[in-house]
């Protein structure tokens, strides 16, 4: 019983810690591509809606009114083909040609990737702090 209780609380703590990391990374990625105030975001990830700080982002219900989309794996969102996309899985980089980067968990480690050519296409200039995450290719 004692171990069950401990396990429950430690997993709660662990998941809350992971959410915090995820939220911080996504926010720093959004900030990196954000060029003006009133930046609106569309996402199909319910989790992201919950963990991103509501006071710092404006969520919209459709890509047509959004400045950027953050997408996880689901059917392709065709409305989102005109705005920059950050994917939540590496594979989605290939499916969305207008995706500029991705945040995903790889072997239990958070990973960030930005695609150089796509940033260029979208005229997005990242801070030099992100240099180590910029890739030439999608593998």
């Amino acid at each position: 019983m004692k171990y069950l209780v401990l396990l429950f609380f430690s997993s709660l703590l662990l998941s809350s810690e992971i959410d915090k990391i995820e939220s911080k990374i996504i926010m720093s990625m959004i900030d990196a591509v954000n060029t003006h105030k009133g930046f609106s975001i569309y996402t199909n990830s319910q989790k992201l809606k919950n963990i991103l700080p509501a006071q710092m982002v404006v969520f919209v219900d459709d890509c047509s009114g959004a400045d950027i989309a953050i997408l996880e794996k689901s059917k392709i969102e065709k409305n989102c083909m005109d705005i920059p996309i950050i994917t939540l899985e590496y594979d989605l980089l290939k499916k969305y040609p207008n995706s500029i980067g991705s945040f995903f968990w790889q072997k239990g480690r958070p990973n960030i990737v930005f695609i150089k050519s796509r940033l260029k296409n979208q005229n997005i200039l990242l801070d030099s702090a992100f240099d180590e995450f910029i890739e030439e290719n999608i593998w």
Partner: protein, 632 residues
């Protein structure tokens, strides 16, 4: 001492328990770590075997290629085989097993992955600790990283580099967890937890104990220290003078600051406090390591000097105090001390006797003019003790009585009032007169008790008669004794008739220490309606300057003048002058020592109305007097 011992025993005991628990906890922790290291070592052995297998396989498969990375990257079949080999290592404990290499930009990229859905070859992987990975990549041996600690296990990463010609070309990364075995989980960890709890509780008890001990010592120090002077107080004296104190090795001295009341009244109590502090500092500096000093009373200090120290140190003390100057508000204050010493403590049975003897010597020092040291001797004591005893027992056994001598109004030949004169009937029936005991008991409680007794006896005598007036005698110093003044105020409040019946005759046999206070007390009683007379005018301190300071209602011319009126015309003229002066100031003059008809006639001829003396009336208990009118 016994109490201290308990505290130290408690602290030492708790400290020992604490040390023991700490030792056990460290021992169990060491054991637990050893067991964990064994488990990890076993796991690492599996990983290292896998590492060796891969290395051998690569050696066989890629021996023709100069670059092993290229060998894998260019050959999907080999890559797939490598994935399979890695996949085989995945089990309940090993979560991830993959091969990475560092590209020209120092980024780690996948070469192979044992996951069921392997990562893409060449795909970048961000590390959780790049610096450690880099160091591991270039080292010759594997590196173990403990990344997370779970409730009953550990998450670990083992980085195992592959090198050829001292040049690393890839690294096997194995993420695995270890479960602590039952021995740790069921035995060592619970014991450690229990020890930790006990340790925590013991530390709390220890800290509380230490805190309480400190508080105890602080409180004890405070309870033994006089707050104003920082000297030991009477509580500490009581502690020191227990039965084990070696009295035979000590001398006792009582030190009193001369005219301290005057300093207080003249400069204020704050200045008085400064004097006490400064003098205490002098005492602290002077006394030896084995000597004691206590603040015994207001301005009284008690010393216990180690044998043979007293004489030298007290002389030094007297000198230092005399030389010490206090500057307050541009005023310099200097003061002296009187000291009474007893160097023969072994003769005293109790500590109170020791203090009494030193006090007696101090009394003598004061009586001899202050600013001196007086050593106690048996001769001083015997006479004094006997007198003390005589008076005290007379009070206790109701052997104190009064005789009353009439003061006659010669114009009407009636009694003006009676003067109450104290007497003591000794145990053998002898009548003792004040001159034999009053001087000795002065400045003691016995004197105060005797004065109250005389007041009570006189009141009992005259109050019910409600006919005759009477006077009682007080010394001028008695007006500075609040107990006596309060007693007089109490009786006149209780018996308002006394205001008309009773008057007070003031004897000024000493210079008054605090004249301002004395004047105000005399005035207070006069304001209540009491009449005050100056006795023995013309002798000692009772002179014209005294009359200037006080508004006396009567003056009694001293017998030393009156007795000469028959033969010395100057005495007559002196009396006449006094009469003239008194008339101007509305003061009634009484001439005492009227011992013969001649004296009576002379005084009568110059206009003296009130007379007292053996010719007119001898002191007696029955209010008898010589009615001249009847006898002539």
């Amino acid at each position: 001492m016994v109490k201290n011992f308990h505290y130290w025993l408690y602290v030492t005991g708790i400290f020992s328990i604490l040390s023991m628990i700490l030792y056990l906890y460290i021992s169990f922790s060491k054991k637990e770590n050893e067991m964990k290291e064994n488990i990890i070592f076993n796991k690492l052995e599996t990983i290292l075997i896998q590492h060796e297998k891969i290395e051998n396989w690569l050696y066989e498969e890629c021996q023709e290629n100069q670059n092993i990375q290229e060998c894998i990257l260019m050959n999907p079949e080999k890559s797939k085989m490598l994935n399979t080999m890695l996949y085989m290592t995945i089990n309940q404990d090993i979560s991830y097993s993959f091969l990475v290499f560092k590209d020209e930009n120092n980024r780690y990229r996948f070469l192979a992955d044992g996951a069921s859905e392997p990562a893409r070859v060449m795909q970048k992987i961000d590390t959780d600790n790049k610096k450690v990975w880099d160091e591991a990549y270039s080292s010759e041996e594997g590196t173990l990283i403990s990344s997370n600690k779970e409730t009953d296990g550990l998450w670990l990463t083992y980085l195992s580099p592959f090198a050829e010609n001292n040049q690393a070309y890839m690294m096997l990364v194995t993420d695995f967890s270890i479960s602590l075995d039952d021995k740790i989980k069921n035995t060592i960890s619970p014991i450690k937890e229990i020890l930790l709890y006990i340790l925590g509780i013991t530390i709390v008890i220890f800290v509380i104990g230490i805190f309480q001990t400190i508080m105890y010592f602080i409180a004890r120090k405070e309870s033994y220290t006089d707050q104003l002077t920082g000297l030991n107080n009477r509580n500490y004296l009581r502690k020191v003078i227990d039965s084990r104190f070696p009295y035979d090795k000590y001398d006792i001295a009582i030190v009193d600051i001369d005219f301290f009341k005057k300093i207080n009244d003249q400069y204020g109590h704050d200045t008085g406090d400064i004097v006490l502090k400064e003098i205490s500092n002098i005492f602290k500096k002077i006394i030896g390591k084995n000597d004691f000093v206590f603040r015994y009373g207001g301005e009284e200090f008690l010393f216990l000097f180690k044998k043979n120290n007293a004489e030298k140190l007290l002389k030094e003390l007297m000198y230092r105090v005399r030389e010490h100057v206090i500057n307050i508000n541009n005023q310099t204050i200097q003061f002296t001390i009187s000291v009474g010493v007893n160097k023969n403590l072994y003769r005293c049975k109790h500590f109170t006797d020791m203090v009494k003897t030193a006090d007696l010597a101090l009394y003598n020092a004061k009586r001899s003019g202050r600013n001196r040291i007086v050593y106690y001797s048996e001769e001083i004591n015997e006479e004094k003790q006997s007198n003390f005893q005589t008076v005290q027992s007379a009070i206790d056994e109701n052997r104190v009585f009064c005789e009353y001598q009439a003061i006659i109004d010669t114009s009407s030949d009636c009694v003006f009032k009676y003067e109450a004169l104290v007497r003591i009937k000794d145990t053998d029936g002898t009548i003792l007169y004040p001159n034999s005991f009053l001087e000795i008991i002065k400045d003691t409680n016995i004197y105060t008790d005797l004065t109250k007794k005389v007041i009570d006896i006189s009141i009992n005598k005259f109050l019910d008669l409600n006919v005759h007036k009477f006077s009682i005698n007080l010394g001028l110093q008695d007006f500075n004794n609040p107990e006596i003044v309060n007693y007089v105020l109490k009786v006149i409040e209780k018996y308002p008739k006394l205001i008309d019946l009773m008057s007070i005759e003031v004897l000024e046999y000493d210079k008054v220490d605090d004249e301002i206070s004395c004047i105000s007390m005399v005035k207070l009683l006069q304001d209540k309606g009491l009449k005050i007379a100056l006795d023995d005018f013309g002798s000692g301190y009772a002179n014209f300057s005294t009359i200037l300071s006080y508004n006396f209602d009567f003056i009694k011319i001293d017998g030393s003048i009156i007795r000469k009126v028959i033969e010395d015309d100057k005495a007559v003229k002196m009396v006449q002058s006094i009469l003239a002066f008194a008339q101007v100031h509305d003061i009634i003059v009484i001439c005492e020592f009227v011992y013969s008809q001649e004296v009576y006639e002379v005084l009568k001829s110059i206009g003296v109305e009130y007379m007292q003396g053996y010719y007119l009336s001898k002191p007696n208990q029955d209010l008898k007097w010589n009615n001249l009118h009847m006898s002539l």
